[in-house]
Amino acid sequence: MKDVTSSLVCKCGCGNMLISACECTNAQVYRAIVTQQIKAGMSKEEILDSLVKMTASQKLKDLAEQVEREGAVAEAAVMEGFRQLLKEYGVERFSGFGFGDVAYFLKNCGRGEEILGAPKAQGVHLIGWTLPFILLLVSGGVIGMFLMRLKNRAIPAPSTPDSASVERSQATSSPSALSAYEARLDEELKKFDF
């Protein structure tokens, strides 16, 4: 239940709160629908798909327009129409909500994919999911190339041997001298540390 309602957002104007956390009528109706769908044995994916389809359906839009047009006069027809609509999406029982709640839900439930907290990772939305990582990889590659170039540039051989290079060449002549040289280098490097 929590898993499903944490994937849905409330579009009533409360600022995209998750349905699991929101307490407005819209969220309460959603939670009631999801509870029934879970009881009907639907999986998380099936529930989310069905809600996206339901909120994008023409029937729901018609009901919302009917409420807008006729108001409370159409109460019986709207309630019946809404129950029928819910049945198509696996909700056999819908109770505890009045016409006002349903009218609010029809107006504020959101439409289609926008009720999901994140777009499905398919089609054009794959760009949205992957672009930050692609750019990170590309920029990482560019930085790597830049550093590689700097690294290559940083090791030109000195034209005349200075004392350090003489020392280095002497140091590399035997393993014990090498470790002594490395120890000294470490000491020197420590001075650079802040």
Binding site: K2, S6, S7, V9, K11, G13, C14, G15, N16, M17, L18, A21, C22, E23, G110, R111, G112, E113, E114, I115, L116, G117, A118, P119, V124, H125, G128, W129, L131, P132, F133, L135, L136, S139, G140, I143, L147, R149, L150, K151, R153, A154, I155, E182, L185, D186, L189, K190, F192, D193, F194
Partner: protein
Amino acid sequence: MAADLGRFSILFALLCAAYTLVAGIYAGRAKDRLRQEQWWQSARRGLLAVFLLCALAIGVLIHAFVTHNYNITYVWSESNRGMPVQYKVSAVWGGQDGSLLLWVFVLSCYGALMVWRPQPTVRSIMPYTAAVMAITQVFFLLLVNFTANPFRVGPPHGLEGMKWPPPDGRGLNPLLQNYWMQLHPPALYIGYVGLTVPFCYGMAALMSGKLDSDWIIAVRRWTLFAWTFLGCGILLGGIWAYETLSFGGYWAWDPVENASLIPWLTGTAFLHSVMIQEKKGMLKGWNMVLVIITFALSIFGTFLTRSGIIQSVHAFAQSGIGPYFWTFLLLMIILGFGFLFLRGWYVSAGLVTLFTFGLFIIHTFGRLKTGIHPPAPDTPNAPLPPEGAEYLLLAVSFAVAGAMAYVVSSELIGIFKNDGKPRYNALQGDNEFESWLSREAAFLVNNWLFVGAAFAVLFGTMLPNLTEALWGAKITVAGPYFNVVMPPIGLALLFLTGVGPLIPWRRASPKNLWRNFRLPAAVAGASLPLLWLMGVRQDAYIGPIPISFSLIVLATCVFVTATIVWEFYRGAKARHALTGESYFAALINLTLRNRRRYGGYIVHFAVALFFAGVTGSMMYKVEVRKDLHPGDTLRIAGYELKLNKVAIERVPGWKESLVAHVDVALKGRKLLTLKPRQDTFEGFGRDMQQTPIPAILYTPQHDLYLVLRQVANPNNLKSTSIHLQVYLFPMVLWVWVSGVIFLIGNFVCMLPGAKELRAPERVTVKGWVMER
């Protein structure tokens, strides 16, 4: 009278800022030293005058709130007589007009402090610094004077017929009547506005051509100060959300939250990359880019908050002034990249242009194609700009982007033809890079990840607009998106927090690595089975690997902490051996003598603690809901919650609360009574809905968080049932504690050294005292 005084103050402040702009530029361009000094002193006094006038204006507004001066429209709109006096003061920034005045006031404080005693090393660029500060002040003062004037008098549009002045005000938005709201906006503003200072210095260095590292050194503490406050402001916003919004969390990846996080992330990148310029003379141009985009993103954040182009819980701050911010943002970026371009950093100029252009396309096409318009202004004196202005901006943006695309492409071709060297680059660093295993490399990876994280947050925030503009599809991008995209980047940054400081400059040898990391790695390795046994294994597994993400995060936190403790221990031990001081004295002196280094470690420890707190509280929270009658009990994690009674509490003229008295017992022993409540605030024309305010038992292990969702029968409280929502948030207290440690660490970093406290040397030329 008060309104007139306020109006005149901000009008004169505008004139002074405009004068400072001219005087600053004149001083910067003057060849003669004496003339330069005279104009600089004049510009300096201009900024001081702006500060005094803004202080007067905000003082007048606070006085008007406290004395119920409802003749002023803004005071009527945001307060009423019944409110406690502390909320009357915080109501000053409760609405748009006042919050902009607070912004201007904070900006004027920064302006005055910046020129009060500038460091001698950057003395020559100070005139330009003052001029850039003045440009920003002029923009905000124009807004405060002509579109969002908090001293406007008379009934608002739509209510022209009402008796004026009214006997009482409308009251403040109930959600803002919380003590954290007295701290969160000012802290955030100090952070946001403070990011103007590094921008001023950076721009001044670019304008004057003095591009060595002096400006970086001068600006480091300013940036640290602003960054600290921005971080604390964000965290205070989290506490406010946690204690007021009762949605069961403190961070929801709301666009406005994101807008404050983005400049904080780029600011973090800047704070790290300045070190590499100081030590190695690298990344001069890149630091300029970071300064410009951090400032631009702080303005962009304000634009997001105000424009209403994105749905947000911060809707109370929305109005029609977003486009003005957008225009200012564009102008500042043009100014920034223009000078970068002049100094030869073509590629960065191109990047900034593309960034601006991208944002502009999203904004403008998003609006044109999808019909998203700023909502009707909440305050009547914030008219929408003409649509034509947007087309003009679009044309300018196209022209600038086209020119830049031409220059950048030709420059890139030139670079490749010319063995990687640009034709001319005043920002060319003394680039030396020896090894991938060096602190330089760690800093670069740090910058890469922080800017990448900032981009990811920005991109996700703008994705709904982008998708709608490009494909006409309406989508929502909220927590479920960010909770997937951000954790890997966050984990990489956390790991780097531990690794980076212990890698030496230039190059690390295997011996170095073994010496520095053997113990922390062993401790972190040992923590894995311990954490597993403690139950850190409930969240999703990473693919087929039987290790949960939270386990990895917490083990990395242990690793980071171990590296820091190890560093402190080694330092204190060495000092103890050298000086004979006690270990404790050695630890304190070590920290005080290497403030930046050890202050940084303290901040890093705060980061590790923060990650641990967030992981525990978000991934292991437990929620229970139940209907209770008086006498009923509910059990959760060993706690026994018993509804004692439901009562009503009134504060005449301010609010009425339905309060549930819930006795909390642990193992049969009563601990305390928690009182979750529903507040209904009095006030004309305000939302009269009940606002649930949670009651929280804070413990180091977990927080017990009670929300009174519903009172079934408010007319019969003796027998009514309530709907209670109970959360158990593990380790959330450590998130707030990490904020305190973060503050302490930054305070240590900011402490001045003895050398800095010394007064600058002064000379007198023709009666003018100048600093050397």
